[in-house]
């Protein structure tokens, strides 16, 4: 059985945010508004987080694309009182929207702050209402949502595999963010398949995980930028 994971090469990432846009469209994520941004209520299943370093005139900004980490030991799952979030045998930390009661324990428990609460009924500008992705349900007010690794794409890929009576092939299932990445900084696949590109990259000396010390065992793995890798491997 596959263990789905993702590698993001920060050297290749140009911070273009194509992944962010692709994700919002693919997953019917409501439009974000400036007033809500001020309240910290915007929803981004993947977002670009800036890290400022140094001081003027030596200042520098690094960017980090931040989806759900799909931890092997997810703290959010521990706290969910109704089993609305759970980890699948294939390692996807799922969110069953219909099951969620909106208590927001999980948003608090998540050290990566990648879980989002729907404070309002979904609100799309008129032309967008006709343009929803039918493969993804629109979440109602009062439930928590997050990156699902586009698991609706897995459902369809698996249906094709069943139709052709064969196992799922590598590359058949890819989340929208990975697919859209212009410099191909994101790689997706089975971490348990030692020959897959993700598994190989995950073993790179540049590989690191966010807040590794918490023991969450994220399955989103970053490749450090050249300068840092020079110092860490050097």
């Amino acid at each position: 059985m596959a263990r789905w994971g993702m590698v993001i090469d920060l050297d290749k990432c140009t911070a273009c945010q194509a992944c962010v846009v692709a994700c919002q469209v693919e997953n019917n994520v409501p439009f974000n508004k400036p007033e809500e941004a001020e309240k910290g209520r915007n929803i981004f299943w993947i977002k670009l987080v800036p890290f400022e370093e140094g001081r003027f005139p030596e200042a520098k900004v690094r960017f980090l694309p931040l989806p759900c980490m799909h931890c092997d030991e997810p703290p959010c799952v521990e706290v969910c009182p109704v089993d609305a979030t759970n980890i699948t045998p294939e390692g996807i930390v799922r969110q069953i929207f219909a099951r969620c009661i909106g208590c927001r324990y999980c948003t608090t428990a998540c050290p990566y702050t990648v879980r989002y609460f729907n404070w309002y009924p979904p609100d799309f500008p008129a032309p967008m209402q006709e343009a929803h992705n039918p493969d993804v349900s629109v979440r109602p007010k009062g439930v928590v949502e997050k990156c699902t690794l586009c698991h609706h794409r897995l459902q369809k890929a698996r249906a094709n595999a069943i139709a052709e009576n064969r196992p799922l092939l590598p590359g058949e299932y890819t989340p929208a963010c990975v697919e859209s990445c212009p410099p191909k900084a994101m790689v997706f696949g089975d971490l348990d398949d030692p020959n897959s590109e993700v598994a190989q990259l995950a073993r790179s000396p540049r590989a690191f995980r966010l807040l590794e010390e918490l023991g969450t065992k994220p399955k989103v793995i970053y490749l450090a930028e050249g300068e840092r890798s020079a110092t860490t491997t050097g």
Binding site: R94, A98, P134, T148, I162
Partner: protein
């Protein structure tokens, strides 16, 4: 004394109101079961068409390749219904619609919520589950169904999935 009288009046009014209410409830109850909850544009007859030798896929054209079975549009019907084939009033309605080129707006009876993924291709083609297993004997229907053969609760899906060792993983069905 005044006080007692007014209480009496109120009681009388209440009794009349209850009487009227009961009468209304009685008539509603009389009519209720006979009003079909769903009006289809045409009282379509499955039995006659299956007896005429049609396959389900003639009209439900999508299930072989997609999640949906599909409900037929006028161009499907008009391949046969150019001239009246019967004296049926329903057929006359159909012919009128064809002439005015108005779309056929069937109301879908079987439905799962949009947070559930169900694929006809997977079930009917790949795993060869007959339509009747889920929809009952459609070929005997002389009028459109007003309710699904199975109430599509989660249990309805899971019962069969457990029997046939298909997925019971939440992510298999939910999206």
């Amino acid at each position: 004394m005044d006080f007692q009288k007014s209480i009496l009046e109120i009681r009388q009014r209440n009794i009349i109101m209850i009487g009227i209410g009961a009468l209304i409830a009685f008539f509603v109850a009389l009519v209720w079961p006979f009003t079909p909850s769903i009006e289809q544009p045409i009282q379509y007859n499955h039995q006659k068409h299956i007896q005429a030798g049609l396959e389900c896929s003639t009209c439900h054209t999508l299930y072989e390749n997609s999640a949906f079975a599909g409900l037929p549009q006028l161009d499907t019907c008009s391949t046969c219904h150019q001239e009246p084939l019967t004296e049926s009033r329903e057929e006359a309605k159909l012919l009128a619609l064809i002439q005015q080129a108005k779309p056929l707006e069937w109301k879908q009876i079987n439905r799962v919520p949009d947070h559930v993924y169900f694929s006809h291709r997977t079930h009917t083609v790949d795993r060869e589950i007959g339509c009747a297993t889920c929809h009952g004997p459609m070929e005997e229907r002389t009028s459109p169904p007003t309710k699904p053969f199975f109430k599509w609760t989660m249990d309805a899906c899971i019962n069969c999935h457990e029997q046939r060792s298909a997925t019971v993983d939440c992510n298999g069905c939910h999206r």
